[in-house]
């Protein structure tokens, strides 16, 4: 399977980046008043005296055992920090993916169906607009409109599900809208293009000739055959989504993993940065693997 080398490369890249940091990790931990012997001790303890490739394999084994290291700032295990702050990120991401897919695909289908009309033109225009406006500008515009001017929704903050569904949900509305726009724009557009391509095929003509209602033609034949590129873009879009989540959590003050990345970067907390990059990359790879599996379900001709 090609996934293993990919994961390996990611690990290598992450490891390389973080070993390239200027400054001696031992000195950072020990502080200014450490003696040379103390620094040497810490180096040995951290395994920094061994050759690079040995360090890499030891680190890899450590990661595979689930030990992502310990925060330089708080001394708390990184994996623990991740588990603690996963909630908001998970909630936001799931809501966004569901919302975007549910809105975008019908939008794309309708645009393709009514090609050339005002509806189609507006969907296309909205698509380009959607991924040109930066997420945070979107976010602030929404806040301006719905929180400040209309006062309908709270400005920022997050309440976990345990505090009740409504408070939880209400605080997710604006962040979801802010980030979904880009994702919806992407998906709707590919859906439209993909369906348009499929509509020219012979079997569509046959279906119509058979007397099938246009609805059935669209849904049963066109959509199923157009599904592959659509599913692909949902998978590819995940990487952008992750980036977007980092920004969105910052705008709306959601205490999730995205905000954690920013905090860790500003504090130069390398183990945390490292752990988060590994986690996000891994999730990205996993979801794209899932997409590959879904292909075989949608299109029986695809076999691995």
């Amino acid at each position: 399977m090609t996934t293993v080398p990919v994961v390996g490369t990611v690990a290598l890249v992450v490891f390389a980046i973080l070993r390239l940091t200027p400054g001696d990790p031992a000195a950072i931990i020990a502080g200014d008043s450490a003696t040379t012997e103390q620094l040497e001790q810490i180096r040995v303890h951290l395994g920094l005296d061994k050759p690079m490739h040995v360090q890499f394999f030891l680190w890899l084994l450590q990661i595979l055992r689930g030990d992502l290291g310990v925060s330089l700032i708080s001394g708390v295990p990184v994996s623990g920090m991740i588990l603690d702050r996963m909630g908001p990120t998970l909630a936001l991401s799931t809501t966004i993916i569901l919302f975007s897919v549910i809105v975008a695909i019908p939008l794309g289908v309708i645009a393709a169906w009514r090609q050339g009309t005002v509806l189609d033109r507006s969907v296309t225009a909205f698509s380009v607009l959607g991924f040109s406006v930066p997420v945070f500008v979107n976010g602030y515009l929404l806040i301006l409109l719905f929180s400040i001017s209309l006062g309908w929704l709270p400005v920022q903050g997050y309440k976990p599900l345990t505090d009740g569904f409504l408070p939880f949900f209400v605080r997710l509305i604006l962040p979801t809208l802010a980030l979904s726009t880009a994702y919806i724009a992407l998906i709707a557009r590919i859906t439209r293009t993909s369906i348009l391509e499929v509509m020219g095929e012979d079997y569509i003509r046959t279906a119509r000739a058979k007397g099938l209602k246009e609805n059935a033609v669209l849904l049963r034949h066109a959509l199923r055959n157009a599904a592959v590129p659509i599913v692909t873009i949902i998978g590819v879009g995940i990487a952008h989504l992750i980036g977007g989540v980092v920004v969105t959590e910052s705008v709306f003050n959601l205490p999730g993993l995205g905000r954690l990345v920013v905090e860790a970067v500003l504090a130069r907390d390398y183990p945390v940065i490292q752990g988060l990059i590994l986690l996000f990359s891994f999730v990205n790879i996993l979801i794209n693997l899932l997409v590959d599996v879904i292909y075989t379900v949608i299109d029986p001709r695809i076999r691995y």
């Binding site: 290598l12 890249v13 380009v128 980092v246 970067v265 990059i277 990205n284």
Partner: protein, 289 residues
């Protein structure tokens, strides 16, 4: 499309290109882009003051005759900052686009032409693509310190794999063409073969991809600066302007929204032009998109 006359399919690529590039949205986009470039080039002459000059007595003022877009938390003239900001954003966009296209072309040609290096290069590219772009860029900037150069490089690197894939697929397709075979049979040395026959075929897709990288780079820089992990604060990039305006959003939303508007319009124009170019250069020209 409104205003477009339905002609019988013109077989010439040039005709199609011309029709696409002169349609209304594209012309508007090119105008906006032109204005953005002019702003960037002529910033000092547009009635701007010093973008980094602090006027502590005039902090957080609204739009006025003296300050066309108001002032920020340090009393700096927002209009001047936004105008100068155009330079930085466009520079970053251009830098990243050119760098990614050049490097991507180089690596893609190697992967496509030298079979033995293909798998390993593509695995590395897949690995880089697996890391979400902005995270990789942030990590790279964290490691090498923030400066204009490091930010541009950090933004370029995640964009390279897609360009490599593009170039590689073009090369792989052409590799088996009869004229390539003929050239090889005639004893054409590899470099000439590459340069004269293969690379020219990559130009069109690269131009399209380049415009998308341009747009993406501007957005990424803005996002990074907004989060505080991009360009150092002394650069009045649109992202930095917005970052500084965050705390005062409820008081003066303009601090974020003016720069945001300019950024959105510029990125939008680049995307529209990129789309038009892609439609125009697409070999499946008969499609009525």
């Amino acid at each position: 499309m409104t205003g477009k006359v339905e002609e019988p399919l013109a077989p010439s690529a040039f005709g199609h290109l011309r029709r696409t590039l002169t349609s209304a949205p594209v012309l508007i986009a090119l105008t906006i882009l032109g204005i953005a470039i002019l702003i960037a080039l002529l910033a000092p002459f547009l009635g701007t003051g010093d973008p980094i000059a602090i006027h502590p007595g005039e902090r957080l003022k609204r739009v006025s005759g003296a300050h066309w877009l108001g002032t920020d938390a340090f009393g700096r003239d927002v209009y001047s900052r936004v105008m100068y900001g155009a330079r930085i954003s466009l520079l970053v966009g251009l830098g990243a686009a050119l760098a990614s296209v050049t490097l991507g072309l180089f690596i893609g040609v190697i992967a496509g032409y030298f079979r033995m290096l293909d798998s390993i290069v593509m695995r590395v590219m897949d690995g880089i693509m697996a890391i979400p772009g902005i995270l990789l860029a942030i990590a790279l900037v964290t490691v090498s310190g923030a400066s204009l150069m490091t930010v541009v490089v950090a933004i370029t690197i995640p964009e390279i794999p897609r360009v490599v894939r593009l170039v590689r697929s073009v090369i792989l397709t052409i590799r088996d063409e009869p004229y390539v075979e003929a050239a090889i049979a005639l004893g054409t040395p590899s470099p000439a073969l590459l340069l004269r026959h293969m690379v020219p075929n990559t130009v069109a897709p690269l131009m399209v991809q380049g415009t998308f990288v341009f747009a993406s780079a501007m957005l990424t820089e803005a996002a990074m600066s907004f989060l505080g992990v991009g360009l150092p604060p002394e650069f009045p990039s649109w992202g930095n302007i917005m970052a500084e305006g965050r705390i005062y959003f409820q008081l003066l939303p303009g601090l974020i929204l003016y720069a945001g508007l300019f950024l959105a319009l510029t990125v939008l124009s680049v995307n529209v032009v990129g789309d038009a170019m892609r439609d125009a250069l697409d070999p499946r020209m008969a499609r009525k998109l």
